[in-house]
């Protein structure tokens, strides 16, 4: 079997494979430090009991689901308070509750979101307290 234009075809295949596999080999061997989020805002330091609405592991995994359910409750069901698993009562709200403690969006929310490459659209409307001050 004769392959016409052999050089161009093989070179093309090599370039194609290199481009397609680029994301796999480019970062090989490099380690990217996991994001360091800052939890020492003045509001948190003032707290006697430094606990979030739910425990850290739950919040890390499920904060987005929790926020989505808060959103449904407040906007659509007119229910404004949340009782945590251990019975504490909170007012539901992103700027009204979460950001009262986590007032450092750029060093808390953004660090993980940038690392994970997620772009939540909360901030199209909800106001980042860092911008107002």
């Amino acid at each position: 079997m004769k392959l016409y234009n052999r050089g161009i075809i093989i070179a093309g295949i090599v370039v194609f494979l290199a481009a397609v596999t680029f994301p796999f080999w480019y970062d090989r061997g490099k380690t990217i430090a996991p994001p360091a989020i800052e939890l020492d805002t003045p509001a948190i330091q003032k707290l006697a009991d430094k606990r979030c609405v739910e425990d850290t592991a739950f919040m890390r995994d499920n904060h987005m689901k929790l926020l989505a359910s808060w959103r449904e409750s407040v906007v659509r069901k007119n229910v404004h308070t949340y009782t945590s698993k251990d019975g504490r009562v909170f007012e539901m709200g992103l700027t009204g509750s979460c950001l009262k403690c986590h007032e450092n969006k750029s060093r808390f929310c953004d660090r993980c979101h940038d690392y994970a490459g997620v772009k939540p659209n909360c901030w199209n409307c909800h106001i980042n307290p860092e911008e107002v001050l």
């Binding site: 959103r71 906007v75 007119n78 009562v89 007012e91 700027t95 106001i127």
Partner: protein, 261 residues
């Protein structure tokens, strides 16, 4: 021994039914009552104001032509942008002349005080809201207490509600509203480009036990807010005493903003 054709079909059928059923864990989870249910009053806040049917009475005869207190208070409280271009304008409560508010009732020989009267207009929070009926995503909906709400999270900016509302009470954000907000109020969200907005009867304030911003801002007490189903409410006391009209009531949307002139 390999299963017969008949046995294989029986097992395959049972498996298909099993796969179609929701997992047992989810069924159990649904039956147990959720613990995060509503408790009256959030910590440190006043009890919410509730009603069977919220309504407003606007006594426009008390309004003077240069007063914009209610509008300023509302637009400040809700981060409403002040866009000069009338094509992009966003408004929740705004002044209109009689001929524009009550077009059918207006005529060439109407008394001058009425003709020149400035009337504040806002969303009528209709009992039969056409905007809700046409909304394809359920972004706008009517609450049990009558407030016609906007859920900006679900709004896709299709503008059908804009066309459906006979009162022009809805505005769409054709441009990003942020740069046009004079003073950002951090505890109320702004809107984003491509969503509809309108008066929400200050539901976020009612939840904290505070009357609407426009009502509290009016020094003449021209705006009165209350439960129209409660015969002892302020709203009913006024409606019982004075003649009131509603905007374009003939359309059958059952507006819940009553005007006195």
């Amino acid at each position: 021994m390999a299963p017969t054709r008949r046995e294989f079909l029986i097992i395959a059928g049972i498996s298909a039914i099993g796969a179609a059923c929701p997992p047992l864990s989810r069924i159990i989870a649904k039956e147990t009552p959720s613990r995060g249910t509503h408790l009256p009053g959030a910590p440190g806040s006043a009890p919410a104001l509730t009603a069977k049917r919220w309504a407003m009475v606007v006594d426009a005869s008390k309004c003077s032509s240069d007063c914009k207190d209610c509008m300023t208070a509302c637009h400040e409280a809700h981060n409403v942008p002040a866009i000069a271009n009338p094509n992009h304008e966003v408004k929740w409560i705004w002044p209109e002349r009689f001929e524009n508010v009550f077009r059918a009732e207006s005529h060439a020989h109407i008394q001058e005080t009425v003709r020149k009267q400035i009337i504040p207009v806002l969303c009528n929070h209709c009992d039969n809201p056409p905007c809700v009926r046409v909304c394809p995503t359920g972004a706008t909906f009517r609450r049990a207490d009558g407030i016609v709400m906007m859920d900006s999270h679900r709004c896709i900016g299709c503008k059908i509600c804009l066309a459906a509302c006979p009162f022009g009470a809805r505005s769409i954000n054709f441009v990003n509203p942020r740069p046009f907000i004079r003073k950002l109020k951090a505890d109320f969200p702004t809107r984003t480009k491509g969503v509809i907005e309108k008066c929400n009867f200050c539901e976020e304030r009612l939840a904290r036990g505070i009357l609407p911003a426009c009502v509290l801002a009016c020094e003449e007490k021209a705006l009165v807010f209350g439960d129209v189903e409660d015969p002892n409410s302020k709203v009913r006391q006024i409606l019982d005493k004075k003649f009131s009209i509603r905007r374009r009531a003939e359309l059958g949307t059952k507006p819940q903003v009553y005007y006195i002139l």
